[in-house]
């Protein structure tokens, strides 16, 4: 029930709504909880609402850490 999925904003609509794409499936959602959205941003989508924006820089940093840990593991 607390599951939420990343969705890409494709169009900003009036009344704090947006059209997002979920793996190609288009959906209208509320963006009333998130400030400063731009087209192309990824949001965490939950029960029809964007909960937060996904930070691309942090996402890349996390992937980097994951790769480092895995490489250390391979060496151990």
């Amino acid at each position: 029930m607390c599951l939420a999925i990343p969705a890409r904003v494709v169009e900003l609509l009036p009344d704090e709504m947006a059209r997002v794409s979920l793996d190609g499936v288009s959906k209208i959602i509320s963006t009333a909880l998130v400030d400063d959205l731009a087209i192309g941003d990824y949001v965490v989508l939950h029960v029809g609402y964007a909960l937060t924006k996904i930070d691309e820089v942090e996402a890349l940093a996390t992937l980097e850490l994951l790769r480092e840990a895995a490489a250390l593991g391979a060496a151990s």
């Binding site: 029930m1 607390c2 990824y42 939950h46 996402a59 994951l66 895995a70 250390l72």
Partner: protein
Amino acid sequence: MKHVDEYRDGELARGIARRITAEAQPERDYRFMEFCGGHTHAISRYGVEDLLPENIRMIHGPGCPVCVLPMGRIDDAIKLAARPEVTLCTYADLMRVPASGGTSLMKAKADGADIRMVYSTLDAIAIAEKEPDREVVFFAIGFETTTPPTALAIRLAQKKRLRNFSIFCNHVITPAAMQAILETNEGVAIEGFVGPAHVSTVIGMSPYRRFATDYHKPVVIAGFEPLDVIQAVLMLVRQINEGRSDIENQYRRAVTETGNGRAIDEMAEIFELRESFEWRGLGEIPRSALRLREKYAQFDAEQRFGVVTSPARDNPACECGAILRGAKRPQDCKLFGTACTPETPMGSCMVSSEGSCAAHWAYGRFRQLERRKAS
């Protein structure tokens, strides 16, 4: 899908698991509770436990709102839906949860009650607008992820001057439940928590501080993909080895220190704490749930329809309570896989796909079988 597939790479998972095995001290046991059903689901589905060394055990926690809602509240919802003027809107997960006397919302609907499944609070608002002669009640349930959408629905109903919309509020609070688990304890030693993913996008990291300072338990907030969980386990092992108890954030791509200020403000505007609320398996927990503030009383279905919850007893053979406290595992329940399956759930843990029993039914039991064959 971007921001999903990258975190499901099996090769990376095996590499990190090897790292965990190298760093975990063989002479000690590590017991971590993943609070959220979302983590439980990922752990079962991707076999995360099979990658971890024997001395690291994951204990499944109560973090599924459908699982922890006591039966009495489902009975209340069914009673509301039985009123001829009421249309009850609910998230689909709740439809099959067993209520008293072997009934459920699904059965009540089959018997003619006007119960409609909605995906979003916005759908419930749309129904109220379209059908002004119906009393539309939204069955509001969930942790801090689902609460802001309920708060916004009330705002919207107020703006649209809807007189036929109310909510039956069952929203609960995560840190209060984590604390209750540490305090009830029942011999379940927990050395650290894999902290909630999406709840934390809303509340941020600070509400967990007291687990580090007062209880000396590390918390690593983690995303719901398998690599997120495995990385969180590595971070927890490192904290334990170093004798630290900090609040760390694995899910930096979505969680910040202070969370979503707008969502927090919306919740604070609409809701206030209840003195106490019953959780399935955990009993009454003080200050662990929300109700509408007095100024929004007109949207409160409990006041509007005079709901009085009477205590209801779960099926005595069902072990959901002990499972939700982390004291037992699904395979310890006599009904598992016989009387109780996802088609014929006897307890709430078998209903939602994030419930421990449902996760074990869908994935875990096959692995158990394979392991038995292999040994």
